[in-house]
Symmetry: C2
Subunit: 350 residues, 2 copies
Amino acid sequence: MADDVPLPKQKATTRRDVARHAGVSVAVVSYTLNGKAPVAPATAERVRRAIQELGYIPNRAAVALKSGSTKALALVAPKASDPVFTNPFFAEFANEVESAAQRRGYALYTTSAAQDGADGVVERIQEFAARQVDGVLLLPGAKPIQPAVLDQLGIPWLELNTIHPQAGAGSVGVDLFSGAREATAHLIEHGYPTVAFVGELPPEEPRRLGWAQACREAGLRTDHVLQYPMTHQGGYQAGLELARQGRPRAIFVASDRMAVGVLRALHENAVKVPDEVAFVSFDGSWEGAYAWPSISSIRQPIELMAERSVARLVAPPPHTPVHESFHGTLILRDSCGPHPDSRTDPRTGP
Amino acid sequence: MADDVPLPKQKATTRRDVARHAGVSVAVVSYTLNGKAPVAPATAERVRRAIQELGYIPNRAAVALKSGSTKALALVAPKASDPVFTNPFFAEFANEVESAAQRRGYALYTTSAAQDGADGVVERIQEFAARQVDGVLLLPGAKPIQPAVLDQLGIPWLELNTIHPQAGAGSVGVDLFSGAREATAHLIEHGYPTVAFVGELPPEEPRRLGWAQACREAGLRTDHVLQYPMTHQGGYQAGLELARQGRPRAIFVASDRMAVGVLRALHENAVKVPDEVAFVSFDGSWEGAYAWPSISSIRQPIELMAERSVARLVAPPPHTPVHESFHGTLILRDSCGPHPDSRTDPRTGP
């Protein structure tokens, strides 16, 4: 079976042969290849010529295994219309995952699926498996992938930032329902009589449910939803609609990314935030901290989620395929209106 | 020599053995492993049990080689205090590089060096070489790495976003000097009598040189430099200094990232942009497009640089180790002051 043949074998040529041919020690050949000690340019040139003439292929995998530096995890993002890592929230998340991996001596390789859907993700995981990566973290795409499909690939995996946990899938995610409910309840505490929802999310999405729950609890209407894409541009369009029409006094915006776009449209139309429209959004990334006015937001515990994800992925098997939910924190800044402790200096960070 | 031993060899167990043990066809074992066709859950379970009992290790590299899906490039970022991909400019750049790679059928794996300096980068390249990646793109760190050190690693490489091209290094980068000169000259055309420089960059850095050149050509002073870190927070500190003291009428800010921080500090101190301080910055990322007021900036031709970098890296050798310089474009928005064509709708994008 072709599947079972070992990797292409080294030809008889060894590092010792190269050393003899170039008239140098074996150590000098090693230094020339691994850069760990300086080698005189003329000597290095002689070594490289010997390598070429003898057709020597250094067994780098063996070198890497020896140096103990082969431990690696992969982070696979979905193929999406809006590139996932140009969203500061995901860039920060990936960065924290990388830090958590490096603290344990693992490199993190990040990549996007080449195509939409399960096929693209499966292809990437197979490539990582072929490259002997120890485990894969997945950011979910628009369509869920069956855990069984991933389990069959023979490489440990865990889903990050999960909105709808699946049975049989190991995953982590923030409690979107509680976060949205808290954000909305906070706006209601300010005394705003209407809180609309901004974001292209279906009624069963937990942020929609949390917002509706808080509104219902306070006797507020739950039918004012501005359905726009979850991007800067989508937020900008929502902001233009808010500027035009009989607007709600307050809004809950489903992501910081959208909130930045909303703010821009309101500025252009001289609608004052928070005096005419107050809002709280979701994610707590730096975007909201440097916006003007700064954006109150539910901060996702990114560091904690990243740390926990990596810890679970690299733990010895068996892995229990459960969903772990984390609580966000309401960061009070300026967009929700004056409040005893609502002023945060951006120097303290998001 | 340990360096020359082949990879740990497969034991005698083959896919055929697994099929026999599980009472299925070899194809079903393959489908269970590669997910390319559905396998009944009970059957898949039987196959997995057989795999476990026999200690079969699929030769995934061979699978991947067979499926022709092993083409890959790597992007290595330096270990920096400010994580590089949380900067929207670098996130956009990495995304464009990934698109350029995928158009040619290559995956892109992105990672950061585990430690600062050449050692960390060399280690990552060696790991990628061990994983049979076809080429490496490098984002330069604080300290330059000798091209000879990288050449010795035996894997094609190219440096992205290069500020100081080195002899013997293949690299691409934007013409920072011309961009800064054009941005500064534009501010001077507005009639502003002083244009200060904002950014922690040494006098020989091309943006500093370009700014100074434009000032000199117009007979303006070139000694007003606000040295703050090239981050949001650095920009914020520079903005606080500008708000406090006898301020220049205009500033050239070395990056959009800083400009967003400057803007925030000026807002807090009720200093009007562009009426009291006008500015142009560098990069042209989305940050500036959604800021209030929107930020005039030199847009780097990210797509073109990404396309060209990948094209050079995957071209058949020999690779000519030259630096290729690209011209930025002045995007006129609101921060530089009223101007016939200075209004850009954010819908048209950055």
